[in-house]
Structure formats: C-alpha cells, structure tokens
C-alpha cells in the first residue's frame, strides 16, 4: 500500500505460545441452523487442507481454523498474545519435527491462527511451541486521521494494493463486500480479540439462510458495511471495517466465516476497489495459490 505510517515508531515484542488442542465435552453434539445435530472438527489444533486462498466454506467442519491454533498456557499471558499479535506477524516453530519453519499470522479467533505451508503443517501437532514476533498495534496512517488500524502488521499494510489517493481517501482492494445483516457472533466484543462471525454462508442449506457469502475464501480482504470497530465491534451508519477472513465453515447457527479487523473508520474515508485477488495468499504464500 502506497502510504505513510508511523511504523518507524513501533516496537516488536517476542511472544510464545503452543499449538492448543481442539476442545470438546462429554455430550459431543452441537446444533445447526435447522436443529440438525453435528460433531465436526475444525477449531483448535492443526487443521489441514484449508489455508489462505482456499474456499472458506464447503467443508464438513465447524469453526474451521486454518493451520495452527495457538494459545499461551498462562491466562494473562494468553490475553497479551491474543491482543498484541497482528495479522502478518511471523510465527516460528520451535519444537517438534517442524522446528525452524516460519509461517504467518492470519487472524485471531480466541486462538492466534498461524498459516504455514502444507508440508510444515503435516509435521506440526498439539503442544508444539511457537514464537510470535508481535508488531502492529499502535500503527497509524499518515493523513488518514479518521481511520483506525487494528491487528495489522506494517509489513502486511505495505504489501496490500491501494494507498492514499489524490483525493485524500484510502484505496483498499476487497474481494467481497459484506452487508450489515451478516454480522453474527462476535458483535459487541473487543476488535483485538477473536473475530466477527458472518452469517449467510451455509452452502447446501436453505436459501432463507443465504446472504450470498458462500464464495468467500480464507485470507480474503473484505469490507463490512456499517461496522465501527474502533473501540469494539458495533453497528454505526456511515462507517465500515476492513477485515481478513481468518476462519471458515461453521455449522453452528449465528456463526460463520470470520474476518479479523484490520482498518475501520467513516466509509467516506475509504475508496473500495473490488478485486478478487485481494487475498493474503497473494502476499504471504504466493507459492500456495492454486495448489490447494
């Protein structure tokens, strides 16, 4: 993105975490939109076969978290890990057969979500230690005072197409525009934690559930209409939020593929360009594009 920022003023912090297991309970089943019971994997651990550039939906999965799901064992340290980590930050594997491999953060979902090349993921499992070099919170754009940056590594911003236009607005390329009706679970939560589930993306279920979002891909940059994520996640006319789809398929009602928040402000401060290539895979894993 052709833009000036205060990135030179930011510091990085070295954080640790471990690949955290999927969690279930003794009753196993949850309930889908039409009352259908399901017990499906996808959240926690290492999820294979879906990464940046892959379709977000169409899997037998619930709360699909691509790649490795990471937490810190200490609750307060975990909150620091979740809040400080930004999309685009590097994640290095420290233990196990994949030690030494480096991937990137693609979002938060009560786990830090780290995407790695598929051969690396194949050698990664629950308990493996990782290091996150966290940098990005506090990032501000020069000349775009009304826009607040969230969870966005300076490196990601630099690689995104667009930038400051002659009219002063910020040009951002988006793969999809999401209507306000799609906002589901996650409304009212902090915009530095977890993400915003989008409803209306249940392929194969009823037309009355659809908001036309079945074509989303993991890693897509999207705009959320009437979403103000400056101080949490709420509805506000005349605002919008730019996010990156960091989680995929949900069977649970009121949930769905979720964007982690990146930029938010008055809609008039943005110039959106519809661009199917607006996806993290183009910038962080170009070698994977089309391979999945």
């Amino acid at each position: 993105m052709k833009i000036s920022s205060n990135s030179g003023q930011l510091v990085s912090q070295v954080l640790t975490g471990e690949v955290w297991p999927p969690l279930a309970d003794s009753r196993a089943y949850r309930v889908g939109p039409d009352g259908q019971p399901f017990a499906l994997p996808g959240m926690g651990g290492v999820t294979l076969g879906a990464g940046c550039g892959s379709p977000a939906t169409g899997y037998a999965s619930d709360h699909l978290e691509p790649g490795a799901s990471v937490r810190h064992r200490d609750p307060a340290a975990n909150m620091a890990l979740q809040f400080l980590t930004c999309v685009g930050n590097p994640v290095r594997v420290e233990t196990g057969p994949a030690a030494g491999a480096v991937g990137h953060v693609i979002g938060q979902h009560a786990y830090v979500l780290a995407d790695f090349a598929e051969p690396v993921l194949a050698g990664l499992t629950t308990g493996d230690a990782v290091t996150v070099t966290a940098c990005g919170q506090g990032l501000a754009l020069t000349g775009h005072d009304a826009i607040v940056v969230k969870n966005c590594a300076p490196g990601l911003l630099a690689q995104m197409p667009g930038g400051t236009r002659p009219d002063g607005r910020l040009e951002v390329h988006v793969a999809a525009r999401v209507p306000a009706e799609a906002i589901g679970a996650g409304a009212g939560m902090s915009s530095e934690y977890a993400n915003t589930d989008l409803m209306g993306a249940y392929p194969g279920l009823g037309d009355d559930l659809s908001l036309g979002l079945e074509g989303l891909r993991i890693g897509d940059i999207v705009s959320l209409a009437a979403a103000d994520h400056r101080y949490g996640r709420g509805y506000r006319d005349g605002y919008l939020t730019i996010g990156v789809i960091s989680t995929g398929q949900c069977m649970m009602f009121g949930h769905g593929p979720g964007p982690s928040s990146l930029l938010t402000g008055p809609a008039a401060a943005f110039h959106l360009v519809d661009d199917p290539a607006a996806n993290l895979s183009c910038w962080y894993h170009p070698e994977l594009e089309g391979a999945r």
Partner: protein
C-alpha cells in the same frame, strides 16, 4: 404426530436456588464506550434500585441495568441451568435475609455466565442484599400454550403468563398466526451481542441509542418507536430465528421482552429475552410506537 404430542406434553416445574449477585469488575474501573470514551459501568448486575418496568431504557446513566435483582449460582454449571430453565413469569420466593418471605417474579435473563433477572416490590428489593438466597419455581421451557400454531416456537416464558398479557392474541381458529403488539420492530442488522448464542439462556442486545443522541450509531435504521423503548416492552426483530442459537433467517420474526437498559458499549444496548420465534406467517406484529404497554408490575401483581 410428533408435533401434536409435543404440543400436549405436560410441563414440569423445578425449584432452583438463586443467589443475589454482587456486581463484579476487573482490575481497572473503566470500559470504553462506542465513541472511545472511558466510563465506569454502573448498574451492570446485582441489585439495582430506582429502576422499574415501564421506565425508558435510556433513562439512567447506567450499563445494562435491569429493574430488580440479578440471580446467579456459585457453581458455573448450576448457574447455566438456572439461566436456562428460569422463565419470565416464574415465581420467586426470598428465603434468607431481611426480605425473607417476599415474593418476586422472573422478568428476564442475561447471557454469557448466566443471570436471571427478578422483579420485587421496591421496599422489599431495597431490603435485600447480595448473597441472599431465593427459590425459583422454574417452568416453561418446552411448553406451548393451546391455540398457538405449530410453526411458532415458544421459549423462556411461564405457560401461565400468556393469560395476563393482553398484547399477545392467538387466532380464534387456533392454527392461524399469533398477533403480538410491540413497541417497535427492529431490523436484524441492529442485533448485537447475543447473536450466535442460545436464546434459552441469553438475551439479545439491540444497538439502539437515545433518540436525541447526536452520535446515534443506528440513525433512522431502528424505525418508529425505537427511541421510546421501555423496560418490559415487547419488541420484534425481523429476519431473526431464535430456535437454535440466534441468527439470520430471511422472513422470520423474533419477539422478546426488554429486560435491561441501554449500554454505552459498541455492539450492546437494551436487551430482549426472546419468547416467540417463527416465520412471519405465524407471528403477526402489531406496531404500537405510541401507547404500547409491555410487561408491568401490575400484571405480575408486584405493584
């Protein structure tokens, strides 16, 4: 027929122990409002005095304040059961403390960890203190009153309460739509916290701001009557299905009772406890922007 036998199933009641909640805060006093200003949350749980059914949800400088006492249980699983099985209209009896013997009524519930909201007569509420114990005669989940169409789901309400709610009118034939008078009908895009959560144990916050607010995030989207919402009002949310978690479904309507007041937090606001959800063909909304009367202390014999 399965639906028929389910409709005729007899309800059971369970007596639950509720403990009056003490408000809790974190290490720091402040939360951040939708405009980025820090504020200290007052009225978020515990015993709240000076607030009653029929008061405007915007009347107080408070956060999620409910008219009465919030009931919890020290064991997390028992607390979830308390919130899930308690229904609006259930009778509450105070068992300990200075108001022992006083009668209250469940008027709603709130989500996350689980809270049941109970209304009492003002003098008896004022004499109560956190940790006082109450017994709730919980009954209602799974029940369906006679004369309600099969496609309409009823939840969170005592089976006997419909008899004292004049705004709820079943069809004469028994299989036509139920007609419900509401203060306003809010579009689903203004639903906030509570989406994706189970409506049998959570409320659904509506992102409404005072009508005179110069920073009203909802603008005109909320529609007529939204600025006049009162505690106890019936409010409809369009395109929301609340049967299996709360979520978007085109052509559906959910009606709930307003159980707590506004909140400065983004994504939060006055909350409804859903009681009816179904396709618009079985739930007919009568908008009563002016003159709507919701759940009152008189209906609950608490005046």
């Amino acid at each position: 027929m399965t639906t028929r036998s389910a409709a005729l199933a007899r309800p059971v009641a369970v007596n639950l122990l509720g403990v009056i909640e003490h408000p809790v805060l974190g290490d720091g006093p402040y939360r951040i409002d939708a405009d980025g200003h820090p504020y200290l949350p007052v009225g978020d749980g515990g015993i709240v005095l000076g607030l009653q059914l029929g008061d405007s949800v915007f009347a107080r400088k408070a956060d999620h304040a409910a008219p009465g006492a919030c009931l919890v249980h020290p064991d997390p699983a028992a607390r979830h059961a308390l919130a899930t099985y308690s229904c609006i209209g259930n009778q509450v009896r105070v068992r300990t403390g200075r108001s022992a013997g006083a009668r209250g009524v469940v008027i709603g519930k709130r989500g996350e960890e689980g809270r049941v909201i109970a209304a009492f007569r003002p003098a008896e509420l004022a004499a109560m203190r956190p940790a006082d114990e109450v017994s709730i005669r919980a009954c209602g989940q799974g029940c369906r009153p006679d004369g309600f169409p099969a496609g309409l789901t009823v939840l969170n309400i005592d089976p006997g309460l419909f008899e004292v709610l004049p705004m709820v009118r079943p069809s004469a034939s028994g299989d036509g739509p139920v007609s419900v008078g509401v203060r306003c009908s809010v579009p689903s895009k203004l639903a906030g916290n509570g989406l994706g959560r189970p409506a049998v144990s959570w409320d659904l916050d509506l992102q409404l701001r005072p009508p005179d607010s110069d920073r009203s995030p909802a603008g005109d989207a909320a529609g007529a009557g939204a600025g006049g919402v009162q505690l106890g009002d019936f409010v409809a949310v369009t395109d929301i299905d609340a049967r299996f978690n709360v979520g978007y479904r085109k052509g559906w309507v959910t009606v709930g009772i307003v159980v707590h007041g506004a909140s400065p937090l983004p994504g939060h606001g006055p909350g409804i406890t859903p009681i009816l959800t179904g396709p618009a063909s079985v739930l007919d909304i009568r908008r009563e922007a002016a003159g709507h009367v919701g759940l009152t202390a008189q209906m609950l014999k608490l005046q």
